[in-house]
Symmetry: C2
């Protein structure tokens, strides 16, 4: 439990977007943010909800130099009864602790974290949109605030939660995306930070994504950093394939992000009777399946997009169309299944949802 969360409401309320479909992902922030400080002497302290806005930070703070920073991405949904619910928040809380361990940052008590999430969303409850496919995107993050240029773990950190009302991550909705298999840059390697949601992984990915975007692709598909032959993940998502009737997704080998939508998708698919394999899958195996017509479907899974069908794959200049560039039946069923549970329109038999109202 947090001793006390001080709340300072803003006087100049921002305008809540009326048409959520016009809101660009992660660009419109709710009125308030949660902040909490840490140092090794006092532990977590000074929990507060304040108007979202700039805060004074010394340019000598370690975060600007050594990227000791981690984050999470999660969502809260407006139920048909008007209430609000979180999708598997404790999974994000646990993952943030694992990310922190990799880059020597302190974990927060799980109940304390959940309390912060509840209180902040409660304060900005009106910002949770209700249109189909919309949600409140929640971004908890933490960064090193020690001022100094020596390279070592910071002693002090700022923990922050921002929230953004969002429609769908991809402006085109659940339309199939085109992805390019990246064979030059590497995002992560076993032993590195690939499994952690830390900033450096994303900085490493930007150049390839930019090049792919310039060529008309939505995302890149990363290969492993050791052999450059095994499929790892897409820019902002995990990846799944339906090959010859079976569903295959890259195993968590240390450099792949352990996605919560990935995990949930596997649980849901298995509950429907699909065979799901987590294993190494080489780009050669994938290309072979595509050539032989055995690659039936491909989709990405992630918090932002939930499920994104992949309509086209390109590798070393060779182009493959998946499911005739359309949305496959399993992809569609998975999207409907997940978003149904998230929005409260389908019964939550997995007990994934955590209501805002205790």
């Amino acid at each position: 439990m947090i001793k006390e969360i001080k709340i300072q409401l803003r006087d100049d309320k921002r305008e809540i977007p009326q048409d959520i479909s016009k809101v660009k992902f992660g660009k419109t922030f709710s009125d308030h943010m949660f902040l909490m400080d840490y140092n090794s002497k006092d532990g977590w302290h000074d929990a507060r909800i304040v108007p979202h806005g700039p805060i004074p930070i010394d340019p000598g703070a370690m975060v600007f130099h050594y990227a000791q920073e981690i984050f999470e991405g999660m969502k809260a949904y407006r139920r048909p009864d008007g209430g609000v619910q979180f999708f598997r928040p404790y999974e994000n809380i646990k993952r943030m602790a694992r990310s922190g361990e990799r880059v020597s940052m302190p974990a927060m008590d799980e109940d304390m974290f959940m309390e912060a999430l509840r209180k902040l969303v409660e304060v900005d409850k009106d910002w949770v949109p209700s249109a189909a496919g919309s949600s409140l995107y929640i971004r908890p993050f933490m960064f090193a605030t020690d001022v100094g240029l020596g390279v070592h773990a910071s002693d002090s950190y700022l923990f922050c939660i921002l929230t953004c009302p969002v429609a769908s991550y991809y402006p085109e909705g659940i339309n199939p995306i085109k992805i390019m298999i990246e064979d030059e840059d590497v995002r992560a390697v076993r032993g590195g930070t690939g499994f952690a949601k830390c900033g450096g992984n994303y900085a490493a990915s930007i150049r390839a994504s930019k090049r792919a975007s310039e060529k008309g692709f939505s995302q890149v598909l990363w290969l492993d950093g050791v052999e450059r032959k095994y499929i790892e993940e897409v820019g902002a998502m995990n990846i799944m394939f339906k090959i010859d009737g079976k569903i295959i997704t890259p195993a968590l080998n240390g450099s792949v992000l352990p996605g919560i939508t990935r995990m949930s998708s596997m649980e849901l698919l298995r509950s429907w009777g699909y065979e799901v394999e987590e294993r190494l899958i080489s780009v050669d195996e994938l290309m072979e399946a595509a050539k032989n017509g055995k690659l039936e479907e491909a989709w990405g899974t992630g918090t932002a997009a939930v499920v994104s069908p992949v309509g086209r794959l390109t590798y070393k200049g060779e182009d493959f169309t998946v499911q005739d560039g359309g949305i496959g039946p399993v992809t569609q069923k998975l999207y409907d299944g997940l978003t149904g549970i998230q929005s409260g329109k389908v019964e939550d038999t997995f007990h994934w949802m955590e209501k805002l109202e205790k």
Copy 2:
């Protein structure tokens, strides 16, 4: 050329440390800092020198989430004649541009960058210490300032230069350090960002350094991320060995930082007639040489420490003493040679030094 650098001097001057040996590395900042903004529309603009201190930054700024941030480390020295000189500043300027290219950040015109360095050090000239081994450490860095949670290159950046009077990086001075060869965590991989001075590489390194420090080691020695068998670099330095009369340093393979002290050391050593090899060197070769008594010397090179003798190496629990734990003759000669040129006590036959006074 920068159109105009606005200068706002501080009223409350800080106290310049009298005894530089008591100053902890990177913890004491000079009075002022240089700031300059970038966006794609206006390019670089609003160059200014202002009192060093916190600046308001939105927590939604991309730097806190995706670590789009790069930095440099360089030094200015007080000459015996009282003047001030920079050590190979254009090499740092060029490297920062290469780092930026890897993480999709804009470069700055070289002369503009040099002008900023000159003007800032000129303003805080009194902060350049004169004691033996001391210098003004200069930290140019740049980070993404776009506010938004989409993962892509930021459109806007803040470029900043901080300076710190420093003694020696290691409190023990040029005393030999103990290093541990890391066989669990990986810092960088070919295709990744290892050659760039970007924050993510350092965040990835902190846990191993902390574990090594808890076991009594100063630094870790990294192995390559692909085969985990080739020597790459030490935490904050490149590494060189003298084996059987020859000097060997890991080749720049994409995951090793192209150190400016490394490059300068090789030039100096070759000018003295030493054979210097840049090549792959496996940990097995190194251990073999240590066992056979052929590992004559080992040292790290870097801006902060210049040259650090390695007195002990540990790998998988096996311990090797180098040069009886003392300072080898080549290590000492290299340290004296480099610091002699840097401080202006030895003739700069390489034309490495750039005087502050034009």
